[in-house]
Structures are given as C-alpha cells and as structure tokens.
Amino acid sequence: MIERVFMGWERPLIETAAAWIAQRFRTDDTGRGIDFQQTLVVVPGRRFGRELTAEIVGIGEKTDSWVSPGRVTTPGELCGVLVDSGTPMAPGLLRAMAWGEALRGLPVQLFEHVLRRRPDDASAAEWMRLGRMIDGSVGELARELLTPDDVAVRAGDVQESGESSRWRSIDAARPTYEQLLASARMADGHLFRLATIRSGGALQTGGLREIVLVGVVELDQASRRAIDRCGLPVHSLVFAPEAEASAVDEFGCVSRAPRGHVSIDSSCVEFAEDVRDGAKRIVGRIAAWTQPAGELSARDVTVCAPTPALAIELGIAATRVEGLAFHDAAGEKLGGASVVKLLAMIAEFLREQTVEALAALVKRPEIERWIESAAGPEPGWINRIDQDAIFAPDVPAREYDQRDGKVAAAVLELCAGLVAAPATQGTGLSQRLDAVVGLLDTVFGAQELNDREAGAIRAIADVIEECRNGSEWIPNIEGWRAIELLLEGVADARQPDSSTRSEVEVLGWLEAAADRAPYLAVLGLNEGMIPVGRVEDALLPESVRRVLGMPTGESRAERDAFLLEGAIRSREKRGGVWFVCAKRDEDGGPLKPSRLLFRCDDAEALARVERAVSEIPEPARFNATARTQTPDAKAGAAAFPLAPLHELPPPAEVHVTAFREYVRSPYVFFLKRIAKLEELDEPSPEADQSRMGKVLHKVLQGFGPEQSRALKNEDEIASWAMEQLAQTVNTLPRQRSSAVRDAQIEVARRRLRMFARLQSEHADAGWIVHSTERMHTEPVFLETPEGRLGLRGQIDRIDVRGDEWLVLDYKTADKPMPPEKTHRNADAWIDLQLPLYIHILRQMEPTASNARAGYILLPRASAEGKIVRGEWDDAMIDDAIRRAKEIAAAMLRKEYPLGDDPYGSGAIARLCGVTLVEADSSDDQGASEGADSEGEDE
C-alpha cells in the first residue's frame, strides 16, 4: 500500500520533505537522533538527494540530533536496488561493447534490418556507438517490462511499420550479447530485472524497511512492479497540495491526463530575439532581483538552462556584469579534458606517423615536458621540429633524421606498444589498453596533478577498466583504433566541479524544477526545452512508443507542466520565477514558444501569442554596450595599433627583389626585410610552387658556359636536364601521396623539356651562357642624398652574343608574366629587379653597357614557353635606376608607410590590417603615412 503525502506548495519540497523525514524517523534509542538508515529514499536526482540529506542534517543540528541517513537513490536506479541483490551487473560501456560485438556477428541479412550500412569492421568505436544505441533502447524497453521480441510482436500489429524485422534482428543478437557478458561474469541489469520481475520470484530488500519517494514524478513499469512486489511500506511525498490529488497516480507520479492550467504570470515572461539576447535578459533579471544590494546571496538564485548551449550563453553574458558568475552544475564535458585531447593527438600520431603529426604531438605540454626530461633535446627543439613539419610534413616520423631526430625516436619508443601492427601477436585490446596506461603513466610520471586533471584521468581510467572487461572480444586492434574506442567511451561523460560561494547555479530543467532557491530564472521556455518535445529516436520514435505504451513527448509535457506549476507556486510568497522565451536558437534557427505558456485562460493565452509573434520591444542591452562607440574605438586603436613600427637601423644593403616589396607596401618591406619577420603557414600535403621553383632553379643553375657550348641540340639538352633533375629530386622530402610527388616531378620534367627547346633555339640564335648564379664581388651601391645603399643580387644567368649582353631570370610559375607586366604599371615602375641586375652587371662588366634583361618563361602551357626581354632602352633603364635611388633614399630615411597594397598570408596581413574591414588608416596610423587599407576592391 502506498501512502501519498501531499507536501503543498508553500515551501520548497526539500524543506518539507526533510521535515517530514526528520519527524517520522526521530528516535531516542541511542541519544536523540534521526535514523532512517534502513529506508530507501528515492529522489529526482543525485543533487537533490545531497541537498535533502544536508537539510535533514541541518534539522538534526538544530534539534541536537544525530542523523543516520537512508539509502538515497534515483527513480532510474530504484528497480536495481530492489532487484539486483547479489548479481554483478555490467556497466554501460561494457554493455555497449557487447551489443556491438553481438551485432557484428549477426548474419548480413539480419543485420541489414537494424542498419542498412554495415559499420567498418576495423572500427571498434563505430560498433560500440551502434551498441550504445541498441543498449539504450533495449534498456528503456526493459524498464517498461518489454523485450525486443515484444516490440517485434506488437509492431507486427502495426501494418507495414518495418519495426518487426528490426527488433527480431536485435532479438537474434541478444543471446550472443548475453553470452558475451556472461563470459565477463556479468549480466545486463535491465534484462536481469525484467526476467526477475516476470518470473514472479520474491525480491531481496537487503534490510530495508521502508521506501520514501520524494517528489518522484515519473516511474517506469519495472520500478512500479518492484515496489509492489517488495512488500515494503511506501510513502510518496508529493510536491503539491492535496487539491492536486487527481493530477497524480497511486505512486504520486504525474498522471498522463492533460493539465489544463499552468500558473505562469505574464508579467514574469520576457520574449527574446534569440538565446543570446535571452541570456542577457536573464542576467538583467538577476540584477533586478539583487537590488537593493546585499539582500540576496548567490545561493538564493538559480538559473535554469535546459540545453548546454544555453549554459554557454549565460556564462558569456555573465562576464558583462561585475560580481556575477555562473556555475554549471552539469560539469565540464570530459571531451574537453586535457588528457582526452592528448589521447586524441596520440591516436592521430599513430594513424599518420608523419613528422607533421609528430610536431603536433610534441607541442602538447605533457609530451613536451616528458621529452625534455627523457630525451634532453637542445633548446629551441620545438620550433625546429615545427618548421621541419611545415617544410616536409609527410616524412615518416621514423625517418626523421634532422637535428632533433632523437625526439622522434623517443616518441616512437613511448608509443611502441601501440605502433605494432594488429596482426602481431599480443596486440589485442587488452594489450593496447595496457600500452595506453603505460604511456600515460610514463608521460605524467610522478607529476602531482590538480583536482581537475586528476578527475579526468580517473574517468579515463574507469573507461579503460570497463573496456578491459570486454577486451577478450577484440583479439586484434590497431593502436589508434583502440584509443578511438576509449574516446568513444568518454564522449558523453562529464566531470562535475564544485561551485564557490558567489556563483549562481545553472541547472538543467528537471533539477531546476525541484530546486529550493527562492528565485528561479528560466532561459528557454520553448518547445523542445520545456517541455522536452517529441522523441526523435532512430529505434524508438514517438509512434513506436505510442504503440508500446511507453512514455512519449506528450506524457513528458504533462510531467513538465506539473513541475512548472510546483516551481512557480512554491515561490509565490518567498521569491519569484522569471521566464525568457527566445525566438531563435544559437544558430539562428526558429524556436517555438512552449506550449505550456498557453495553458492559461483563453484571453491570456491569446495575449501571449500576440506577444510571442510581435516585435521584440528593444534589444536587451547592458549599460556598457549602450555607451557611445567613438572613444572606445580610439582606445581600441591605441591598444591594437595598425602597422606598428619598431626602432631598427636603416638597411645597409638590400636585395634587388626587395624594391618590388617596397613599392607595393613599404611597411611589408620593413617587416620582411628590416625586422626580418617570418610568417609560417600550416603544412601542406604537396610541395608549393616556390619549392618546386627552387628544384627547377637548382637544375637550371647547372646549365652554365660549359653546357652551353657543348649542348646545342634540344634532345641533348633535355637529356642533360633529366639527369640533373633525377639527382635533385632525391633531395625532395617525402610526400604522403607518391602520386602527387611524382606528378610534380613530371611537371618539372616538362618544364625542363620546354627549357631544352627554348635553349636550343636561343643557342641557334647565337647566344651562349657567360655565367650563372653570378654575384658581384665588389659591393654595388645606389648613391642617394641620404647616403648609399648596398645592393645584393644573384643573377640567374648572363648570356652573351658578340658584344651583346643579356641578363636572364628563370620564371617557372604556372602562368608567369612577361617583364613589362611585372615591372611596370601604367607609367610607373612597380618592380626594379631586371634594371638593377643590369646596373649590377654594368658594375661588374664594364663592356656590358648595352646589356639588356629578360625572362626565360617556363610556364604550364608548353606553347607559351619563351625567352622574353624587357623592352627598355637605356633611358628607361636610367629612369628605373633613378627610381631605385628614390626608393633607396626612402629606405634610408626609414619611411615605412602602409602603402597601396599591403599583403601577407598570416600575421603580416594582420599587422597591416588587411583583415579589418573598418581599419581607419588616417586615425590609427600615427606616424605611418599614406596607408589605405579601406575599400579593397576584391
């Protein structure tokens, strides 16, 4: 017989239930005490249970009584407490693994009814994911006293629903599943309870004498049957007044009959444009509640965020307000823990085993510390490996023989137990797990961990242990796949952390509804949040649940309506509830207002509909954001200046190619040539154009006077070039795809064949190579009023024909432009490389006064390959040198304005403000002149 005790709504349930328990279990047997040690107390959640016990302890302290607390459990665990006595039950992860394995063993024709596409057989994680889904559904069925076979039979009554075959297949996998668990000396708790209850045997109540249900609004069939059968007296403390008796069933749980009215006060509901706006409104409401200051403490307020995304928004909104911080009671997702990220990185390294993956791994602080202690690398090693990885990402880690090769060796040794191929003996899951433990143990060593990290490692250790129980089922697995399995195991786990005095708790809906804080702010009074909405489940969707009589979205809505009523009514006299209903979610998708909002009288409901669809009066704004922008913008500009300079001496010497940079953007010239800054790109799986250009240049450098004299015929030249190329490519770093590498080499071959043709024609025209890679031995200067500036330049090739001199530069880009286009725009010089080469040549070779310059274009299209000169006469070349001197003078004056066309691929672009739409050069630049990054016409 169940006694329903109505606790009313005058006070929070925790207080009234604690008082009831304290009263009922008062004893003077051994001094004054509250003794309910032999009572099973069923509460809505663990957190509620802790608070209830704390409240009873508080009563004990006030009445000078000791407290011997009862066994506290939740509705989800209740059946297990009453039924499971004496049998070891498999934890969830092991069940998921076992289901995965059982399904893997199903014949194809049966498996296809479960999932049309078979997961990758090598991926234990994917099978576990599938197993987790099946386990969840089978467990849920069992709680409603149903088996897969029952579903198959009942679904068969629903014409052409397709469920029968699916559940028959699942049922076919069940014996294997149970055998697998039995082999680990365990059983499935849900199925065990189902069988026990169905068998009608007596239940062991393990010394329990009573059961008290506190605010339990929902109970599955298995728990109900277990309660009935255990024969213990049951008291259900219902969070409602007696007038609500019809709203609950004999267990005190919410009945499925629709609740017509929910006492939401319209004046306590705000509509927000989106959840971000909603979070600000919640913060504003808390601010309003705390006026006048000092009357409320943080623990007097609770915020409800039905989804994790809302909790994030609240956290960010709180940063706007001094003195406010939120504590998300759900804790942190374990996926974000450092050790989990480390494992993911190790898995990536194991999968790829390239220098790129090595560089990523050693940059994890845990690995970095370990290497420094274990391998003793030279200072700056991280930077070196990083740069090597950018240059040659695909070199296998075991072939990494650069200066820090011992780092790679150490990492490979560290991962040895995970690297071996799966076919090797002793590479089953068990061995892999041992290797993971060993690896983490080695990396972390005797290092003292803080609570957060220790918690994460403990959780990982638990997952490892759970996987270990099923490790015999997986006799062979690659190391990275084993880690993938572990990561799948922790995917949904969370790590709780404790709050401090000044933090406001953020709770999920069910916990918030039962919370005791006098002020409750609810963000997300929306469909799909409160109430939870339709069940979109791949195995047990709403329609199937209805056929099976299982809880549905509809029944959950009634539960939520009941909880909402209690949450509101219990705060009527001692605090308040504030609701925010958002129109859009965090991604901008439309949200619907909660249907519970319209469970009121008709006029009010219509008024609410109107508010819900009308414009939001004004966006919620903080005083801070309402401030004018201008002064702040200037402050921001000072803190993050555009094109900041650094005091450095002017250049004594520059390369001839630097002039182009200066013309384009003197500031970029400063960064690259004066400050000598380097921006690093991410590694690319293929060699970039400049690297392939260097390969070609290296080959072509070899075509000097001797070759020029000896090799005239196109085929001979080509043959020589191919031989040179073959030698050069051996020095190229390895690429992940040999096809890409080989295709790039083929490109080089074709360009060299093109060269052979051009060279042959050039030779036919009487030209011979005078020198290659020529550098001036005596310094060459540009004289300016500010002093002289040295020139540096290495000329690719100098040809002669009689008394004619020709400076040539190889151009190997896919679509190189002729000298005229690269050097001049309209009437202005934009590059001075070739004229300056001529200038240098004239200094070196007094007879070269008539020298001209051009490019050997070796482009992608064979027909476009040619030798093309810059069509400049002496006057133009003199003009170019004059311009070069002007620029040199500006360089010596240290004039580094941003210029017309600042550029860069990373930080240089950012320093120039290329990424800033609103960069205002005139205001921000200060000393730098002529900047104009606005209005880029892309």
């Binding site: 109430p531 669809v613 803190a639 993050f640 295709a743």
Partner: protein, 1057 residues
C-alpha cells in the same frame, strides 16, 4: 486600406485544393501562405501534425510561423478574416494552434529531411549520432577525400587525368588542382546519378580521324599546292600567310585552332577567302583535315570530360568514406540518401515520423532542386491525384525571383508543376502590397520591355521569355514614392578605384535618406560581396552603423586579429611575425613580453600559452585575454572576443583540439553586430524575401555575360520540356573551338548562358522590388563600361527616353528621377512598445555559503587520494579485487554482533559472497581466512569480553550510517555534507545514556605487520572524523571514544590515538 485589410484574391475561405500560385514580389506570398495554412489547419481538424509547410531559409520559416499566428490573432479581434475565420472561430483556432504548437511544422526542407534522418537512421544507413557538417568542415572533408584519391591513384593515372583535364599543361600543384576540380564538378556528378559513363559522351565519329600516314600525306600535299595568286598574278600574301598558319597548326597538332581558322571555315562553307576563291584541290585537303581537326578537338574534350567523370567516381567514393569516418553528412546528402529508399522503406519512415502529411505547403518553390523534388514527388503526386477533400497541396513561388541556379535550384519545376501534377493553370498574383506605385512604375519600365531591350539583343529569346512571365505591377496601397537612376563618372583605369565613386554616392544617398526619414529602414544592395565592407566602413565614417545580413567577419576587429596572432604564436613559436604583432599590442603586457624581437621570450610565451590551452582549453585562453584587456578594447572588440570565446567553448568540447583548426573556424565566422542600426548592407541573394523603406542599388556594373560554368549538362530532347529528364551527357565547359565543332555543344553553352542571363535579370528584379518607398540606383558612366552587358546597361537603355522629372541644376548625371505622390496620407509608424530591460553592469550579492552541497567521504579526509597519473590509472584495476574483497569481508563482519554468539554457517557466508563474483577457489580461500581471523586475536576485539571492565552495557551498532555537515572554507570553498558508514561502533550505555564508545574499522589491505603503523597514519584522519561525528551524535567528548583499526590480513588491531 491598411496592411491588415489586404486580402489576396481567393485566399480566404478558398477551398483547399491542390494549387500552384505564381506570386510576384511583394504580392503577399507569406500572407497568403499563412491563410492557406489556416485553411488546411481547419480542414485537418485542427491537427497541425497533418500539415507540413516548408520554405527556403530558417529565418523565413520563423517568419511564416509567426505570420500564421499573427493572422489568427488579427482575425480573432475581428479586424480581419483569415481563411474564412473571424472573431470567435479565429480565436478558437488560434488557441488550438498555440496549445499544440509543438506539432506546428513550418521548417526548411533541409531541417525536415534531417528530422527524417534522425528517425530513419537505420533505413538510411546512418550511424547513430550522425551530424551535419558545417561549411569549414565541408572543405576539410573535400580535401581529405582528395588526399585519399591521391593515395589511391597510380602516378600514371593521376598524370593522365591531369593531362586530360588541363589542356593547357600540367599544373605545378596537382593536389590543389584536383581539389578545385572536385569542388566544381561534384554537383554535376551527383546530378547525373553518379554515372561516369555520361561524362564526355559527345564524341566524334572515329572514321573522321586520319591515320598518321594519311595526315603526313595530306600535309605534304597541302604544302606542295601551288601558291594562290592575285588577279594581278602575284602571290596572294594574305592567302599564303593563312595557308602557312594552317600548316603550322596542323604540324603542331593544334587542331582546335586549325578548325576555327577563317581559311578552313571558308573551305568548309565554300565561301571566298580574302576576296579569292579557295582552290578546289586546297579545299578538298582542308575539308579532310578539318574533319580530322573536328574529331580531334571533340575527342580531346570527351577525353577530358571522361577523365573528370572518372575522377569524380573515385572522389565521390572517397568523399562518402571520409564523411562516414566522421559520422557526418552534408545537407545535400540527405535527399540523395532518401532517394535510395524503396517504397516500403519510405512507408516505414512515414510511420516513424509519427504522422502522415495530408497538407503540403511549399514556399519558394522556384528554389527547389531536382533531388529535393524527387523526394517530394511521391507525396505531391499522391495528393494531386487523389483530390481527396482531406488533403491539399499548395505551392507558391516566383520564377522571376529565381536566383539560386548555381546552388541547384530549378525554376522550371515550378513552371511545369501544374502540368506535371495534372492541375489547372497556376494562379498569378501581381498586386503589390509592398511598394509605392512610384517604385513599381520603375520596375514596370524595366521589365515590361526587357524582351526588347537592345542591350539584350544577343539574348533576345531569354529576355523575351523572362518578359513573358512578367505582368505589370500595380500597387495595392497608396504610398509616396521616389525613384532615381543616376550615373557617376567612373575614373579611368589606374587613376582611382573605379567602384569607389559609386560607393561614395551610395553612402551620400543613405545619409540623406536617413536624415530626412529618421524612422525608415534602409538597405544598400549589391550584386557581389566584395563591395559590402567598404560601404559599411564609409557609412560608419559618416556616423551610421550598418548591419550585414549574415553578420560581419569576426576577424574585422583589431583585437581579434591580434588574438589570432597570439594563438598562432602558441602553435608556431617560430612565427616571428605573429610574435611581433602580439608584442606590439596590448597583449604584450598580459604576456609579460617586453621585447618584440627576443626569440627566448617568444619560446617562453608560446610554451605558456600551450600550457594554458591544455589546462583550460582555447576558451580558457580567450577568457583570460578578455579579462586582461578590460578597459583596453572597444565594446565592439569585446563583443567579438566574446563571440570567439563562444566558438572556442564549442570547439574545446568537441573532438578537435588543434589551434590551426580553431583559427580556420574563426576566419570563416561571422558575427551580427549588435550595435548596428536600421541600415543594412547586403547582397541581392541575402536581400530576397526582405523589404526596406528605401533601397540603394549599387554594383550594377557587374558584367552579365562571359561567364563560364565548370561543366555543361545535356538532358537530350526530353530535357527541353522536362527538367527532370535524365542527364544524357556531361561535358566539361567546351572552349569556343569545340563549340564551333559541334552544334550540340554550342547549344548547351547557349542554354547555360541564357539561363545565366535570366538569373541576372531576376537579380535586378529582386533588387528593385525590395523598396517600399524609395529606390536609388547608382551606375557608372557609359564610356567607362566598355559596353559590356550589365544591369547598368540594361537600366540605361530601359530608362532612355522615359519621361522624367527635371533634375536639379548640376545633376546632369541623373538619368531618371520621378516622385510619386500617394492619394492617402502615409501610414503612421507602428508605435514601438516600451519596456526594454536596461541592465546593471555590476551585482552585489550578499555573502553566503556556496550553493553546491558537495559529498565528502570521511575515508578521503585528511589525506588526498593518489593524485599521480600512474596511481590513478592503475587504481581501478588494483582496487577491483581488493574492493570486492573488502566489501565481502564487511558483509561477513556485519553478521557478527559478538564473537561469542553463533558463528555464521558456510551457506550464509556463501550467500553473502554471491554478488561479488568470486570464483569458487578464491571464495574458499577467503572463507578460510575469515574463519582464521575470527578464531585468532583479532576475533577477540569483537568479543563482548573486551568491554567487561568498562561501565554500562555495551551495545553494538554495525554499518552505522552517519551524516554531518562541514562548513567549508571561509574563502568560498564548498560546503560539505559528510556521510560515512562506520563498520562497527560499540556504545557503552549507562543509565540509558551513552557513557563511552569505540569505533572499529576493518581494513583489508595487503599489508605486513611492520607496515601497519605507517598505514594507520593514512587512515587516522578517517577514524578521527568518525570519532568527532560520534562525539557530536552521542554527546560524548572525543576522549571518551576509542578508535581501532582492524587490519584483517596481518591480524593486527591498531589503536588510533
């Protein structure tokens, strides 16, 4: 008449029959859809789950949802009527819908398909927990798939593919080229059903090609032909030059050029060349060579197309594998998967969706793609064919507003929908509820004559076709209006940025309008995205904060840019440019970075940042930075950093952890500027579906023609009338030489180009029809445009000769200007309800204990548990058996009240042991050990005799649970609820009151007698905690309570002092 009064024809009370409506811009489409929804709602017995309404964007779905409810509310007040409902009936309907709002299904097709994916995962072959990829991830997945392709392909095959694809030679970066190709070709591959045999199927006849020998012979004969002479008997220089060119082309195998040479074309057509006849002998040779050239040109294209199809086959397979490995899909995958379902499976999914759709309302139907249509087709046909009164179909759209061809939209599906479904003629809506007649007059000027606009002569049929679906627009309400078309002088090349002047003028206009009409909403609409940032920037300079429809790039704030450099420095300590950026910003102080040039400092900072990222994630770094920058960044900067932090929190909790991945995400992110006002700047695609009081059109000089597609698709003759006809041929975009070789290719190109022109006209139409009252169009001057076809040219032509109000003196650049004066007074602005919450920037909470009640275990008190990784990792395993053993021994000891009492039987001990999973042998060992302990000295501690000399009567409590509170630390530490279960307490009861007590705790550690003392140190705090709790409970001094640790394995009892 007010907007509330407006009623599109037949909407109210209309029978709910299958119907298609072609609704022009501003004709109240959403308004009518809402009415149709209400009608369907009534017909469906007010059961919203029987109705599915879809639209193209999530925003539009939200608006439609609101509009349905708003119309019912209006009708319930009796102000209006909706679907025949007014007053009480409308009120009932509104309440009914609101109270079942969970079942209201107004959504995008993508979200509807995703819902199907969730409940039909098994049938669709989707692994549990699948998700959709975001834009950044889609690119990553494509690149991964290409990398997999590169690993799969043999070098020779890859080079052959690249050679075939790149008639201009092999690129230096083959991987990059393959990625580019894959991104542009994959859509066509999906469109042809993944059938590579469709690629490149336009092939020349094999017989046309000459053998090498034939070719050599013909060439020799060609060159040996006598020279063509002029009438004067001299060698015809032009002719001979052409002949040499032809010979050169033939020798270098440049057949594409050969075929298009004028001499060759003259020979083929029999025409004269350069006023001379082509000699018959030469013509014969040229014809044969031309046939060969044609065959070779087409063959090259076919080979390239086949290579592309082959590449796509491998790429598609790898793409699916890559997505599968990530357990993720794109939105486009879902309908493709659904098409693979059999009828039976579709039926199962319908059941799982929990409700058959009886009423289907499809908005923006012109944007439906083929694959989406095919998925919907069975339901459409079913509803249309049954003509069941309980079912309805309503499709609405406007072919004139079809802008999404590049994304797969097929407007022809809307045009042919009624025929396809056997319905009557589609209805049209041309009354305009949005704009002033002044604006509509300008629209009518342009589009009623678009078919004869001389600028569109080359595309006459496309323009005429467009015009044929346009009916002059008529305003349905009186509004003042003003329209102006003006041209600004564009600078000469190299003088100044050409677009700037148009932008400057647009900004001027916005400033003017905003000053004159402070309540108006204003939009600047462009064709491309490139001009949006400068417009926003210049508006800001003039004091107007403008919004970008999808938000501004997150990177457009200096502090964000510097923080990216900071993250880059963490990832790459050698990135000296990033280091410099950080060191020159306010971040330097935060990082204690005194020098911008010091490598060692950079190494240290980089390392510290990586440590911080490992400890608290990237979000942790960002939160720390944000706090450290308080007072140094603008509010806008702070907004940006907050948004970045929001992204980081999601990123940190996901599977990725590498900083470069996060940086990439930031680069791709946009954020809505909360401080932006009533001026929007956006492109025409984003503007669709929206309206403003005033609209300024810019970027009208963008060329309409000359664009190439990656591929052309031929659906054969059937495709002429049926957009769903299967693909017959997919060809890479044919160069003009190939087009000259085959009229089919030329026709495919024409078709594609025509479609592009139609879409361009639609863009202009959509842009112009966004304005309610004022439309400003700003174009460049004619001379500088080089007469390229563009919206500017079309407008210039359309308005030439149209009567215009006289421009003000000095405004010679105004080509059209007209004001329209409404008869009625303008509508009053809707009063904005007050009540915004302005929020405090600081809170002051009263001091209180921390909120969370933390459970504290006495067994953990006093000493921290092992906090080293090795210990923690081995803890579960090490303790697994000892924990079970411990629990077993506790259960056995619990049976013992006094040693002197009856001993437990073996059966009882075995019963206790059942739940701990011991093997028989282990259990026997444990039982023997237990019996030994009980009979040894330790057993004596459990003896009643032990307390014989103490006052009072000893009483035993076993497994006594106690709870007490721990106040926590003053510094805000957690309050603790301490709960413990004390193994055994013996209480001496004297005169009914406790006089003394002894706490006994069993320990099953494997410990030797000499180590007991050390271990007792560890357990000491636990026993003290128990003593303290018992002292409080029994009102005893701690000194009156003994504590004893019973180490059962060595059989030692240790008193705890």
């Amino acid at each position: 008449m007010t907007p509330r009064d407006r009623q599109p024809a037949q909407a109210n009370g209309a029978p709910v029959v299958p119907s298609v409506i072609l609704a022009s811009a501003g004709s109240g489409k959403t308004f009518e859809l809402a009415a149709r929804y209400v009608a369907a709602f009534e017909r469906a017995g007010r059961s919203p789950d029987r109705i599915l309404a879809t639209t193209f964007t999530r925003k539009a779905a939200g608006e439609m949802q609101a509009k349905i409810l708003a119309r019912l509310i209006e009708a319930s007040r009796g102000e209006n009527e909706v679907a025949g409902l007014k007053g009480e009936r409308a009120r009932e309907a509104a309440l009914s819908l609101a109270r079942r709002i969970d079942r209201l299904r107004v959504q995008t097709l993508d979200s509807y398909f995703a819902e199907i994916g969730r409940v039909g995962a098994g049938e669709l072959g989707l692994s549990p927990g699948w998700r959709t990829l975001d834009e950044t991830e889609i690119e990553e997945v494509q690149e991964e798939a290409i990398d997999a392709v590169c690993r799969t392909l043999e070098t020779g095959t890859m080079i052959a593919i690249l050679d075939a694809l790149n008639l201009g030679g092999l690129p230096m970066k083959p991987r990059a080229e393959l990625i580019r190709r894959a991104k542009t070709l994959h859509g066509a591959f999906v469109d042809c059903g993944g059938d590579p045999s469709k690629w490149g199927a336009i092939r020349p006849e094999a017989a046309d090609q000459l053998s090498e020998e034939e070719l050599r012979g013909l060439l020799a004969a060609f060159e040996a032909l006598p020279a063509v002479l002029t009438r004067g008997g001299e060698e015809h220089a032009v002719f001979e030059s052409a002949r040499e060119k032809a010979a050169a082309c033939a020798k270098t195998q440049d057949w594409a050029t050969f075929y298009t040479l004028k001499l060759v074309q003259a020979a083929l057509s029999g025409a004269r060349f350069s006023r001379a006849d082509v000699p018959a002998s030469m013509a014969d040779i040229l014809k044969r060579l031309a046939a060969h050239a044609r065959a070779r040109t087409l063959d090259d294209l076919a080979i390239a197309s086949r290579a592309a199809g082959g590449l796509m086959t491998v790429f598609d397979a790898k793409l699916q594998e890559t997505k599968q490995a990530r357990n993720a899909l794109t939105f486009d995958d879902m309908p493709r998967l659904m098409l693979s379902l059999g009828e039976e499976e579709r039926g199962w999914i319908a059941f799982r969706m929990d409700g058959k759709v009886d009423h289907l309302l499809l908005d923006e139907f012109q944007d439906t793609s083929r694959v989406q249509y095919r998925v919907l087709e069975p339901v459409l046909e079913e509803i249309a064919s049954t003509r069941d009164a309980g079912r309805s179909l309503f499709a609405v759209g406007d072919v004139k507003q079809s802008l999404y061809g590049w994304r797969g939209a097929v407007p022809e599906l809307l045009e042919g929908l009624t025929t396809r479904l056997g319905l009557g003629e589609p209805e049209t809506r041309a009354s305009n509820w949005r704009s002033s007649q002044g604006v509509l007059d300008a629209v009518n000027v342009v589009f009623t004559s678009i078919g004869s606009n001389t600028r569109l002569d080359k595309f006459r049929s496309s323009a005429q076709r467009w015009q044929s679906i346009f009916a002059p627009h008529k305003a349905a309400r009186d509004l003042d209006g003003f329209v102006r078309l003006e041209q600004v002088r564009l600078a000469k090349k190299g003088e100044e940025r050409r677009v700037d002047l148009v932008i400057d003028r647009a900004v001027e206009r916005v400033v003017e309008i905003a000053a004159e009409n402070p309540e108006w909403s204003i939009a600047v609409i462009s064709r491309t995205n490139a001009v949006i940032p400068p417009v926003i920037h210049r508006l800001k300079k003039r004091g107007i904060l403008a919004a970008q429809e999808r938000g501004h790039p997150l990177m457009d704030e200096p502090c964000v840019s510097a923080v990216i450099s900071l993250l880059q420095l963490a990832e790459h300590p050698g990135d000296s440019a990033s280091r410099y950026h950080v060191a020159k910003s306010a971040l330097a102080g935060l990082l204690e970075m005194p020098s911008a040039m010091d490598d060692r400092v950079a190494d240290r900072v980089s390392r510290e940042l990586r440590e911080r990222a490992a400890q608290s994630g990237i979000a942790g770094i960002l939160a720390w930075v944000r706090q450290g920058l308080e007072g140094k960044i603008s509010d806008r900067g702070r907004d940006r950093l907050e948004h970045m932090e929001r992204l980081a929190r999601a990123f940190d909790s996901g599977s990725q952890s590498r900083i470069p991945d996060f940086i990439r995400q930031v680069h791709d992110s946009a954020v809505v500027d909360e401080s932006a006002g009533r001026v929007s700047v956006l492109n025409v695609h984003k503007a669709k579906g929206l309206e403003w009081d005033a609209v300024v059109l810019i970027d009208l000089d963008v060329a309409w023609d000359g664009k190439k597609a990656p591929v052309v698709v031929d659906r054969g003759e059937a495709g002429e009338g049926d957009p769903l006809a299967p693909v017959e041929v997919v060809s890479l975009w044919p160069p003009k030489e190939a087009q000259a070789c085959d009229p089919r290719l030329a026709s495919l190109v024409d078709r594609w180009t025509s479609r592009g022109i139609k879409e361009a006209i639609s863009c202009l139409y959509v842009a112009m029809t966004r304005a309610r009252r004022r439309l400003e169009m700003i174009i460049g001057n004619e001379e500088e445009q080089g007469k390229r076809l563009s919206a500017a040219e079309v407008l210039r032509e359309a308005f030439s000769g149209v009567r215009t109000d006289s421009g003000k003196p000095g405004e010679a650049s105004v080509l059209y200007s007209k004001a329209f004066h409404a008869r009625a007074a303008p509508l009053a602005q809707r009063a904005r309800p007050a009540g915004a919450t302005t929020q405090a920037a600081a809170l002051n909470f009263a001091a209180a204990a921390a909120r969370t009640v933390v459970g504290l275990a006495p067994s953990k008190q006093g000493h921290r548990a092992a906090m080293h990784a090795g210990a923690l990792l081995r803890e579960p395993r090490a303790h697994e058996s000892s924990r079970a053993t411990g629990e077993l021994w506790h259960a056995w000891f619990e049976r013992v009240e006094w040693k002197e009492d009856r001993n437990a039987t073996d059966d009882e001990l075995l019963h206790d042991a059942a739940r701990f999973g011991f093997g028989a042998r282990d259990l026997r060992e444990q039982m023997a050990l237990f019996r030994g302990v009980m009979s040894g000295p330790l057993g004596g501690v459990l003896s009643k005799a032990r307390y014989a000399l103490r006052p009072g009567v000893p009483r035993v409590l076993r497994e006594w649970a106690l709870a007490w509170s721990d106040r926590g630390s003053e510094q805000g530490g957690a309050a603790g609820l301490v709960q413990g279960r004390i193994d055994r307490v013996v209480i001496g009861m004297d005169s009914g009151r406790p006089a003394w007590a002894e706490v006994l705790d069993f320990k099953t550690d494997r410990v030797t007698p000499d180590r007991v003392g050390a271990l007792a140190e560890v357990y000491g705090p636990q026993i003290h905690a128990y003593r303290s709790a018992i002292g409080r409970a029994l009102k005893l001094e701690t000194a009156q309570i003994n504590g004893v640790l019973l180490f059962v394995r060595p059989g030692v009892a240790h008193d705890v002092r």
